[in-house]
């Protein structure tokens, strides 16, 4: 059902499209398909090059009910009806266990492929979804900046053809740089009409001198679309109807796995799962969402582990904040601070990283961070993407040591 399962290396290499130079001459600020395909021909993904897959959980996932300190009386006292009992969780040791919905994660843990980073956050936490998500995506806690952390990585890698792809309906800010932004790829099919109608529609993609900013962008989006269809179109016949509908995240990850295996020279992929903004009757809803996450990521990790290129992929899973330690009156929790981050893949050193935040030494009811998220980003930029993190995270020198084996 996905458009990429049948995309092979040859198709990428034989795709012609417009050259990168022409795309840039057309005023491209967002990377387009012609550029990507040209890059695939000139400099395909090195089987040894690291690939980063970022999974954003929108809504502020409750970290304490994800990596659960079920053995800690302070936890159970703080959220009586919301708490999991020690026998309910999937034991990881050190008094912690995974949410019962995360059985696949547990198997990855047992296989040494899952790193659980504890107490990850940033100083002076902001409890607003939007501000906090912006902080995580821009990696700039003190001041608002217009570029995302991976957008700055795109800027910093300059003319390097290795790029980023968002498999999301809307481009997330983390992938927007000052000069470049990631391409966006639809999960569904890419079928366009042929004949005169198709030709006329394609004609709308021509740049027009003196055109206003958004009109020019709209024209270029039509052009990008046709390049994508030329390259991927033959494999976009709609097979979705004969297959059971997968979850949105699973479908996104299918696209990513296909692209990685095909050797597309992208180094960064972004996917997401929303709905974590639960405040009432949270336990069932969150467990359902974590089950969806588990059901999407586990087969993805298992699939990647089977190919050389796939083994180069590292997955980051984060949310904008965790929740208050104490439950509210509606069997939910309010916006909090630090939470666990997952990093998984064949290269990862499994196990716990960073100290578990105390449940009794709190900051106005909130967990105190033990790991700055920028340390994690810096290590991913350097160890997975092979780029000096100094340009991506200016002024931040911290690193997450020992994250990779």
């Amino acid at each position: 059902m996905t458009i990429v399962q049948q995309v092979n290396r040859r198709r990428f290499l034989t795709a012609t499209g417009v050259t990168a130079a022409a795309a840039l001459a057309a005023g491209a600020t967002q990377v387009d398909w012609g550029h990507l395909m040209t890059a695939a021909g000139e400099n395909p993904l090195d089987p040894g090059a690291g690939v980063l897959v970022v999974v954003t959980l929108y809504g502020g996932n409750d970290g304490l009910n994800t990596v659960v300190p079920a053995g800690d009386p302070a936890y159970r006292n703080a959220r009586s009806e919301l708490a999991y009992q020690p026998e309910e969780v999937l034991d990881l040791g050190e008094g912690l266990g995974l949410n019962p919905g995360m059985k696949g994660f547990k198997s990855l843990w047992d296989g040494g492929q899952l790193a659980v980073l504890r107490g990850v956050g940033y100083p002076k936490p902001d409890h607003s979804h939007f501000r906090s998500m912006a902080i995580w995506q821009t990696a700039s806690p003190e001041t608002a900046v217009p570029t995302g952390w991976l957008g700055r990585w795109l800027d910093a890698t300059g003319d390097d053809p290795l790029r980023a792809v968002s498999v999301d309906p809307v481009l997330p800010p983390m992938l927007a740089g000052e000069r470049t932004a990631a391409a966006s790829l639809p999960v569904g099919g890419l079928k366009l009409p042929d004949g005169a109608l198709g030709k006329a529609f394609e004609g709308l993609g021509t740049a027009q001198a003196g055109e206003g900013f958004w009109q020019a962008r709209a024209a270029r989006s039509v052009n990008d679309l046709h390049r994508a269809v030329r390259t991927l179109g033959p494999s976009t016949t709609d097979k979705g109807k004969t297959q059971p509908r997968k979850g949105e995240l699973a479908a996104q990850l299918d696209v990513v796995a296909g692209l990685v295996e095909a050797g597309v020279p992208s180094r960064v992929y972004s996917v997401s799962l929303g709905g974590f903004d639960t405040h009432a009757d949270e336990r069932g809803t969150q467990q359902r969402l974590l089950t969806e996450l588990d059901g999407a990521l586990t087969p993805f990790a298992q699939r990647l582990a089977k190919s050389d290129r796939g083994k180069q992929a590292t997955v980051l899973v984060y949310s904008e904040f965790g929740r208050r330690v104490t439950a509210n009156a509606s069997q939910g929790t309010d916006h909090g601070t630090a939470g666990p981050v997952f990093v998984l893949g064949s290269k990862v050193k499994g196990g716990f990283h960073g100290a578990e935040p105390s449940l009794t030494d709190l900051d106005d009811g909130d967990l105190k961070l033990t790991t700055d998220f920028r340390d994690v980003y810096a290590s991913l930029v350097e160890d997975v993407l092979g780029t000096d993190a100094g340009q991506i995270l200016p002024g931040h020198s911290g690193r997450m040591d020992g994250l990779f084996a």
Partner: protein, 433 residues
């Protein structure tokens, strides 16, 4: 700055205060058009498309109900939700003066509430009615209604907010996204404001919100430097009275109706003055259209999918209510493909803006929706015209085609439905220039 021609400025008035021009609309002047759009006259088109009665919510399956019963109930709710969306699209297409629907749409994005969590199309429609009643009225009245709106209470967990154990969600978003903007309150203000909002509840199977006095915290709260026994309404007055609130609301209106670039300080001061102590939305909108930036060709906006579709339906005389169920479902699926379904904003922050709507995936969906609409369009005027490319431009209210688009359209000029499809996808129509 390149100043728009009178005709382009009139088209912009229709785009920004309505859902684009209908045939003939561009022949009127700017002042007359504005007075009409911001007027208070009766609207026969709106009156003829009354809000539907969705019927009672399905019986709630008990805890031990089987899967089939739960699915059946879900299906009923989904059908009601689709009916609500279909009706609103039809109303957008039918209203004679589109500004009321346009501003209702704006407030829906501002006080963004999603059916996906509310799970009551009836309450979503009730919220829609409230937003329409106050769409061009007083923001004071609108904010007072929204803070205790049943769908809003369900959406932001206001129903579980009770004395002793406040739920902060509604209080926080009310200040951050609805009235003040981030940075103008503290975490302590959020906690205390949550206490002021305690005691309200809403149920999916009843119509209004209820205040349960014993759940309300009637102690003294300290919010934004003021102390008192604040409740939902006095908290709202306190927040709206802050000097930052007027600038925040004016800025949000500017962002959606004029430009993603914030207004310059002097312009903002003029907008705030017009909004005034009565928080008069109509006066604010009038002031917005008086600003030089409103006629600046550079302040273009990408039309959101619903705005684009509603404009297309109006221009081409297509009424969703007159389509068969299957076609209406295809229209809804098309909106979903473009990334925007009314009553389903992605979060309380509302919908994206700008280039986010120009993705590869949205482009495919847009073309399919344009084809669907063209199939049902009244294109008689284009068929009869000698210059068909110019005629479809007139029908859509596009003031000028570029050479690029003119050439593309010429290739399908012999088949008016294809011509309409391509014209609707042209950058000149996808963007409000």
């Amino acid at each position: 700055m390149v100043v728009l021609s009178e005709r382009a400025a009139v088209r912009r008035l229709h785009d920004r205060l309505g859902f684009g021009p209908r045939p003939g609309d561009l022949d009127r002047g700017f002042a007359e058009t504005r007075d009409r759009l911001l007027g208070t006259g009766p609207d026969a088109g709106a009156a003829a498309t009354p809000m539907p009665d969705l019927g009672p919510p399905p019986d709630k399956p008990g805890k031990n109900a089987d899967q089939a019963a739960k699915q059946q109930a879900n299906k009923q709710v989904q059908a009601q939700a689709a009916q609500a969306v279909g009706w609103w699209l039809d109303r957008m297409a039918a209203a004679d003066v589109a500004s009321v629907e346009r501003l209702t749409w704006f407030w829906h994005g501002h006080f963004a509430t999603s059916e996906q969590k509310v799970r009551s199309p009836r309450l979503m429609l009730a919220q829609n009615r409230t937003q329409r009643d106050h769409a061009l009225g007083s923001f004071t009245d609108l904010a007072h209604a929204m803070v205790v709106d049943p769908a809003m209470l369900l959406w932001l967990d206001g129903t579980g907010n009770k004395a002793g154990k406040p739920n902060e969600n509604l209080a926080r978003e009310f200040m951050e996204l609805f009235t003040l903007g981030v940075g103008h309150y503290t975490e302590d203000d959020v906690r205390e404001a949550a206490r002021a909002l305690t005691g309200w509840s809403a149920k999916r199977d009843t119509d209004g919100a209820q205040m349960v006095p014993k759940r309300h915290d009637d102690g003294v709260k300290k919010i934004l430097g003021a102390s008192g026994d604040f409740d939902a309404q006095s908290f709202t007055d306190l927040v709206l009275g802050r000097p930052e609130s007027a600038a925040f609301v004016a800025g949000r209106v500017w962002f959606r109706l004029v430009s993603a670039t914030p207004p310059p300080a002097d312009a903002l001061a003029r907008l705030v003055a017009a909004y005034g102590s009565r928080r008069d939305v109509r006066a604010l909108l009038r002031a917005v259209t008086d600003e030089p930036a409103f006629r600046d060709s550079a302040t273009s906006l990408v039309k959101q999918p619903v705005e684009w579709l509603a404009g297309l339906l109006r221009a081409l005389g297509v009424r969703p209510a007159k389509l068969d169920d299957k076609t209406r479902a295809q229209l809804l699926a098309g909106l979903r493909g473009m990334g925007q379904v009314p009553f389903e904003p992605p979060s309380v922050g509302g919908w994206a803006a700008g280039g986010a709507w120009l993705t590869t995936s949205a482009g495919v969906a847009r073309l399919h929706v344009a084809q669907l609409v063209a199939t049902h369009a009244d294109l008689g005027a284009v068929t009869k015209a000698r210059d068909k490319v110019a005629a479809i431009g007139d029908l859509l209210g596009v003031d000028a085609w570029s050479d690029r688009t003119r050439a593309a359209l010429a290739g399908v000029a012999g088949t008016v439905r294809q011509l309409s499809t391509v014209a609707a996808c042209a950058p000149e129509y996808a963007v409000s220039g």
